[in-house]
Amino acid sequence: MPSRPKSSRVDTAFHATLVLAGLGVATVLAGVAWEVLSLSGEALSKGGIGFLTGTTWDPVTEEFGALPALYGTLLTSAVALVIAVPLGIGSAVFLSEIATSRVATVVGVLVDLLAAIPSVIYGLWGLFVLAPLLREHVQPAVQAVFGDFPLFAGTPLGVGYGTAGLLLAIMVIPVITSVSREVLRAVPETQREAATALGATRFEVIRGTVLPYARRGLVGAVVLGLGRALGETMAVTMVIGNRYDISASLFAPGYTLAAVIANEFSEAFSPHYLSALAGLAVVLLGTTLILNAGARLLVRGVATGGARKNGDRHRFSRKSVSVPISVPSSDPGKEAPDGRP
C-alpha cells in the first residue's frame, strides 16, 4: 500500500496550502492595520484618549477628536440593522421555506441584483431621490405624529443619520437575505419533515426547528451585513449631511468615520491632518473588531440558548402529535405560498 503514506503527505500539503491562504487573509489585514497605525501614530500619541473623546474637528488649528464620527458610524449602522435584520431574514425565510421554487428563483435573482448595484449608484439615488422624498413627505409626516419627540426633532433636511441608516439598510438587506437563504437551504430536509410529521404548522416548523438549526449561520449573515454597513463610504458620504456634531435626532445631519476620511483624505494638506484621518481609520478598525468579537460571543450564547429552546419546541410538538392535520409533501419548497390553510 504505497499510496497510503503518499496520499497522507498530499493531505498535509493540501491542508498547509489552506492554512497559508487563511494566513494570507490575516496578512492583508495586518498590512492595512500596520499602514493606518504607522500613519496615525502622530495623531494618536499627541491626542491620546482625547482623540477618541474629543468632539472638535478643526483642520486649521489642528485639533482633532473622533467622537462625533464614531457616534455617527454606530448610530447609522444600528438603524440599518434594526431595519435590515427582520426584513432580510424574513425575506430569506420566505424564499427558502414558503415561496414556490419558481417565485423563489425569480425573487432570488432580484435580491442578488440589489446586492450587485454598486454603492456609488446607491449614493446617487440616495441623494437625488431618497433624500428629497424623506424631506418633503416622510419626515414632516413623522413629525406630525410624534410632535417634539427628541428622536425626530429638528428641521427636516432629508439628509442625516436616519437617511444614511435607511440607505445602509437597503444596501445591507440583500447581503443578509442571500447569505441567510443559503444557510436556511442547508438545514436538512429531515428536520423539517420530522417537525411537520409531528403536526407543526409551517410557522412552528420554521420557528421551532429551522431557525434554531440555522441560528449560527444567520448571525454570521448579520455580521457580514454589519461589516458592510460600518465601512460603507461613498453612499453614506452623500446622504449623512456631513455635520461634525452629535445629535440625538435621527433627522439631524451628522458624520461617520468613513465619510470624514472620504471627504477629506484627498485634501489633507498637513502631515498631522493626514495622521488624524488615519487615526479615524484606526478607530473604525477597532470598532469593527470589538463589534465582531461581541457578535461572536453572542453566537456562542445564542447557540446554547437555542438548544434549550429547541427542547421546548419538541415538548410542544409531542403534545400536538394527535392533531389531525394533513402532512404536506416532502418538499416544502414546492408548496404554494398560500399553502393548505
Binding site: A13, V25, L110, I117, L124, V183
Partner: protein, 290 residues
C-alpha cells in the same frame, strides 16, 4: 381543495385555530418583507433607466470621452477598464480567498480559524478608501506610477473577505454525511474536499465570487489613488487606467448638464454590466451543477 380536505383541515380545538392564525400572520409578514425589500430595487433601477437612457447609444458605449461642449463621446475606455480591473482583482483574490474559506470551514485548527475569520470580517468592514491608501503605499509610491495593477490589487483586498466568508458558509453547508461517506470509502481529505465538497458547494462559491466581482466593479474610492483614471484606452497594467465609477463620479460632480446626463448613462451602463454579469454567471452555474 375538495370538501373532504376542508373537513380534515377544520380545527379540532381553539388552540389549533390560534396556531393556524399565527401561521397565516407569519406567512403574510415574510411575504410583506420580500415586497418591501424589492421596492428600492424597482425605484433605483427605474431612476437610472429614466435618467440614463436618453444619453445612451452605441457611440456612448464604444467611443472615448470628449471634452465639455463637444457632443458625443462615451465611456468605452472605462467599460474596458472596469472589466480589466475587476477581473484582475478576482485573479488575485480567488486563489487566496477560496482556499482560505475552505480552511475556515474545515474546523481542523479552530483557534487559528477563529482568528482568521475575525480578520476577514474586520477586513470586510475596512472603509474602501483605507484600502485605497494601503494599495497606494504598497504599489504606487515605491514605483512612482499609478497603475492598473495597483487598482486591481486594491479591488482584490475588497473582494477577499467576501470570497473567503461566502466560501466558508457554503462549504459548511455541505452535509457532513456526504463528507463522512467519502472519507469512509478511504478517500483522502484533500480528494474529498476537491471532488466532493467543492463541487457540491460550487454554486455557492461561484455566487460569492460574483458578489465580489460586483462589489469590486462598483468601487470608486479605492481606485482614486491607484488605477487613477485616464481619458485614453489603455491595456498596460503599469499605466493609469479608466474605470466606470470614477468617470461616473467625476461627471456627477461637474458643473455641466451634458456631463450629468452622461453620469446617469454611465450609472446605467455600470449597473447593466454588473447585473448582466450576475445573471449570466447565475444561469451558467445553475446549468453546470444540475
Amino acid at each position: 381543495m375538495d370538501a373532504l380536505e376542508a373537513v380534515r383541515l377544520r380545527p379540532v380545538s381553539p388552540r389549533l385555530g390560534r396556531r393556524r392564525f399565527a401561521d397565516r400572520v407569519f406567512r403574510a409578514a415574510v411575504f410583506g418583507a420580500v415586497i418591501v425589500v424589492l421596492m428600492p430595487l424597482a425605484a433605483i433601477l427605474g431612476t437610472i433607466v429614466v435618467r440614463g437612457a436618453p444619453a445612451l447609444n452605441w457611440d456612448f458605449l464604444t467611443s472615448l470621452p470628449k471634452p465639455v461642449g463637444e457632443t458625443g463621446g462615451g465611456v468605452g475606455h472605462a467599460i474596458l477598464g472596469t472589466l480589466i480591473l475587476a477581473l484582475g482583482g478576482l485573479l488575485m483574490a480567488v486563489p487566496v480567498g477560496v482556499p482560505a474559506g475552505v480552511f475556515l470551514a474545515s474546523d481542523r485548527m479552530p483557534r487559528l480559524a477563529g482568528a482568521i475569520r475575525m480578520c476577514a470580517d474586520v477586513l470586510a468592514g475596512v472603509p474602501s478608501i483605507v484600502v485605497g491608501m494601503f494599495a497606494y503605499t504598497l504599489l504606487v509610491l515605491p514605483f512612482k506610477q499609478f497603475s492598473a495593477l495597483a487598482g486591481a490589487f486594491a479591488l482584490s483586498v475588497i473582494m477577499l473577505p467576501t470570497i473567503a466568508r461566502t466560501t466558508e458558509e457554503v462549504v459548511r453547508l455541505v452535509p457532513s454525511t456526504l463528507t463522512e461517506a467519502a472519507l469512509a470509502l478511504g478517500a483522502p481529505r484533500w480528494r474529498v474536499m476537491l471532488k466532493v465538497v467543492l463541487p457540491s458547494a460550487g454554486k455557492g462559491v461561484a455566487a460569492g465570487i460574483i458578489a465580489a466581482f460586483s462589489r469590486g466593479a462598483g468601487e470608486t474610492a479605492p481606485l482614486m489613488f491607484t488605477a487613477f483614471g485616464s481619458q485614453f484606452l489603455s491595456f498596460s497594467p503599469l499605466q493609469p487606467i479608466a474605470a466606470l465609477p470614477l468617470v461616473l463620479f467625476n461627471y456627477a460632480v461637474s458643473p455641466y448638464d451634458d456631463w450629468h446626463a452622461q453620469a446617469w448613462a454611465a450609472a446605467l451602463v455600470l449597473a447593466a454590466l454588473v447585473l448582466a454579469g450576475n445573471v449570466i454567471a447565475r444561469f451558467a452555474t445553475a446549468r453546470r451543477s444540475s
